[in-house]
Symmetry: C4
Subunit: 216 residues, 4 copies
């Protein structure tokens, strides 16, 4: 797929640009809401069995919470990135579609993680899915900037690169760990909530919210 | 998660603000529509059995109606609250995501209530879910106001606090009742439709619609 | 639920009004898309059995087509009606929610019709669902007009009343027919596509599209 | 369904026009996201069986990827087409609904293809579904242009016709092929990514993105 000859200016095509954003928001909001379908209620149980059933679904609830937080943060980043976009072309739209294609897989990966939380397969699948989303987001970001479609300043841009690499790195790191200790690997993801780069960014005087959002 | 250094003014960031609202609306509209998936048609029944099956699903229809009304009113409140928001930051967005995460659970709680309507577990689960939504909404409301992000006047604000506490209180009250008489506890929720605080608010001359909406 | 003390002017509250419309559009678009979930693919069939299975699902495809057309036309009417709304209040919003609650049931009624197309129960359930939607739409229309919230002229209004009554009448008429000849009753619905009131409206010189849309 | 007496100008009815687009975007984004529901996780497997299960679902993943790309491109085309629409009437809205009705079937066709990838039935069903979408899109395009509702220039228009015919042709061609070699037919679809008309269009100096988008 070759580079497009000319990009459209956003301020001259607000309606068209708005549709790209609206479509993306739609996909994000549906993907995040479909997570609830992973929590299914079995029929015909006795009262005592219901409690057991709910307790047995605790991995599914954990997967729901993690995936909701993750998709929510991905949406924040997307939201933030597109607020800086000044022009768009077919290539940005295509990259965005590929990116969304990886986001929409998260409910499936999340179901796998919820059903088979302690297994290598589920942890690896989930980690790969999320790392791919982060890396596609970074690719879209870098590509759009290189071609002059965004108005992001150099420092914010460098921080985004560092943070995306950091986050993708954690997910990629949890893959070998999943082969050794699949039960423990998901705890590694909690490191994401520490987010040292965010602290670093804030200390250096940058706008904390913007950078953090652009980060994950 | 520390407080953000600076909030963005809504009128200078209408597009970005619009996306937050659009994303929230998307989540609400999907969550409310997914309720219909709880009503499933069993295959291969004879004509007489269909009538039985539909009759046996009456608890699911009741759960559908209650949850539709509840999510609808939550949306109204959210709608009302965001119409008063004058500025936003990462913290408000994050709180909103956590709030939506609780709203999206409602179709699951509703399915549980529909399948196991007369049991303590289902009533408690549903009550906790709804009380958490109300309390998170109140937290978002109070936090945004304390940090000067909304233009709500003191009286409206106090009424919102009273009403939210009232509603959360009813759901929390139905928890001990569910241990004693799980069959009766859902009837307690009908008190919500009486809503004495609404009458109080109207008598004191305030804008009834606004306050009621901001209330639940 | 008492009448609200004051309505908000639409042109002074475009964002708030836009959210009501966006939420409604979301619900319509999800409900119409969920129809596809009624068409399920059974697993583990041989090649010959797949053809049989698809052929056996012909009632489901018919129900899909009819319900897609019906929800689509309801959306058109809603779309048309709200383009005439000049002011809104809590009561209009509440009526709209109740109306949407009936629309969201259509995928369930449609599944029932698809699975048990030749039975009295399915035809009656579907007919009642659709008649209720039409009547709630008419109620919302009449109520909004009576309270001065819309700018619809008297003739359009009268035609809307005639057409809604006509459509609801056909569905209500198919109920007794479903008790006598449940196989034939759905064919009665094809009368809807003839729509004599539309021809009447066009002959009298009114804007055909507008009236037809406002009609169903 | 007769032609409407008068079309509405888009710039005088931005809100109404915006709803048509928003509704369409909603349907597209839901249809594309529902694709993930075709990937189901079976319960109660051992760790070794999970790997097998995922491997056995490779056809479903392939169907997911192809259908995501296809719906994504259909959305692009729709997006592009509606950015050229200058006026609309009931007929355009109705055609758009019929078009969307065919788009919403894609998740079902995709499930069929994923479950029964090597069979004639699945390939034919999928091909017919996609060819119908392309042809309905072309019909909508041609009809809108003939009635003066769009501002598309003659060359773009001719290219759209060529490309749509090309794409529909490939899907229609894969139908007889599916009777001879159902395993191979899907590979024919990869020709879509070569897209000679796109290269042609670009060579002739036209805006590549626009035409390509308008093409599929």
């Amino acid at each position: 797929m070759a580079a497009e000859p000319a990009a459209k200016q956003r301020d001259q095509n607000e309606v068209e640009f708005g549709r790209i954003v609206a479509f993306s928001d739609g996909v994000f909001s549906i993907a995040i809401t479909l997570l609830v379908l992973n929590l299914a209620v079995e029929k015909g149980l006795t009262e005592g069995e219901i409690d057991n059933e709910l307790w047995n679904q605790r991995d599914l609830f954990f997967a729901y919470a993690i995936s909701f937080a993750v998709i929510g943060r991905f949406w924040l980043v997307h939201h933030r990135f597109f607020s800086e976009v000044k022009a768009f072309d077919g290539r940005l739209i295509s990259l965005n579609l590929v990116y969304l294609g990886a986001v929409v897989l998260i409910p499936f990966s999340s179901e796998l993680l919820g059903e088979y939380g302690g297994t290598t397969t589920a942890v690896v699948f989930y980690s790969v899915n999320l790392a791919v989303v982060v890396l596609l987001g970074l690719l879209m970001h870098v590509d759009a900037r290189r071609r002059g479609l965004t108005g992001i300043d150099p420092r914010s841009h460098r921080e985004t690169q560092i943070r995306s690499t950091y986050i993708a790195g954690i997910f990629l790191l949890s893959i070998p760990l999943a082969y050794v200790a699949p039960d423990i690997a998901p705890y590694l993801w909690l490191v994401l909530f520490v987010d040292p780069s965010s602290r670093l960014a804030r200390r250096s005087g940058a706008d904390g919210e913007g950078n953090r959002a652009a980060g994950l």
